[in-house]
Amino acid sequence: MAGPMRIRAATADGVTEVRVLMSHPMETGQRKDGSGNPIPAHYITELTAKHNDKVVMTTEMGPSVSTNPYLSFKFKGGASGDTVEVSWKDNKGESRTDKVQIR
């Protein structure tokens, strides 16, 4: 259901910058639909990013993160052609993993 993530990873001067744009409604559970029924919460709870097999970032999220969450971070090391893999899972148990090669 959730679309693919857009991930960019680029390395310069020994530092790799990773930018991730997820596709997710990030529903808070506070909103109501047109007829006044609450819309159930649906948001990403955890994200893990790996450089090759090493975890470089774990993020725990709450519903205060915007719809279609964006995240960027930097880690030391990483070479052009290495793999960066990002996975998330949400409060309904859905999950998604995408990977990209460092430019």
Binding site: V15, M26, T28, Q30, R31, K32, T45, E46, T48, K50, K54, V55, V56, M57, T58, T59, E60, M61, G62, P63, S64, V65, S66, T67, P69, Y70, L71, S72, F73, K74, F75, K76, G77, S87, S95, T97
Partner: protein
């Protein structure tokens, strides 16, 4: 054409990914499974700090919030946190006046730099806190972001 073989390959592929996830969980159970709902359920800043085990974080110049002074659209407020402190273990972003105060909690393994950015929702003008855990201690910075259009429901 051997369809059974294809199915077998597909199933095998699926299992492989699942296995990898399990393995990832086993390798680092502390990070993948540790999300503490209490932290995210906190209703006041003090509660959130307590749930994080942060007590009263010390205000520090070593923590910087990179965010606009005025956010026109509360649904998408870009917030970044950088820090010059050593041995940083985690960075958290909290919005005082949101119903869900803790927006995100970044756990930084060694080698990952204290420079993260994300986008958060803000229901109204509020103080935004960045809490950094460095060398076992908690430090924070605070910045008020004015919101002209709320991000929750609207």
């Amino acid at each position: 054409m051997n369809h059974q073989r294809r199915d077998a390959l597909k199933t095998g592929g699926g299992l492989g990914i699942f296995g990898m996830l399990v393995a990832a969980g086993l390798v680092k159970p502390g990070s993948a499974l540790a999300r503490d709902q209490k932290v995210f359920d906190a209703k006041t800043i003090d509660e959130a700090f307590a749930a994080m085990g942060a007590g009263k974080p010390e205000a520090s110049d070593g923590v910087t919030i990179v965010a606009p002074d005025i956010a026109e659209n509360g649904a998408v407020v870009p917030v970044g946190v950088t820090s010059s402190l050593d041995k940083i273990e985690s960075i958290s972003i909290l919005v005082e006046k949101n119903p869900n105060m803790v927006a995100a909690n970044f756990l930084l393994p060694e080698g990952t730099m204290a420079d993260v950015q994300t986008r958060i929702k803000m229901g109204q003008t509020s103080d935004v806190y960045a809490v950094v855990k460095a060398d076992g201690k908690y430090f924070m910075a605070k910045k008020e972001i004015k919101v002209t259009l709320g991000g929750c429901g609207g």
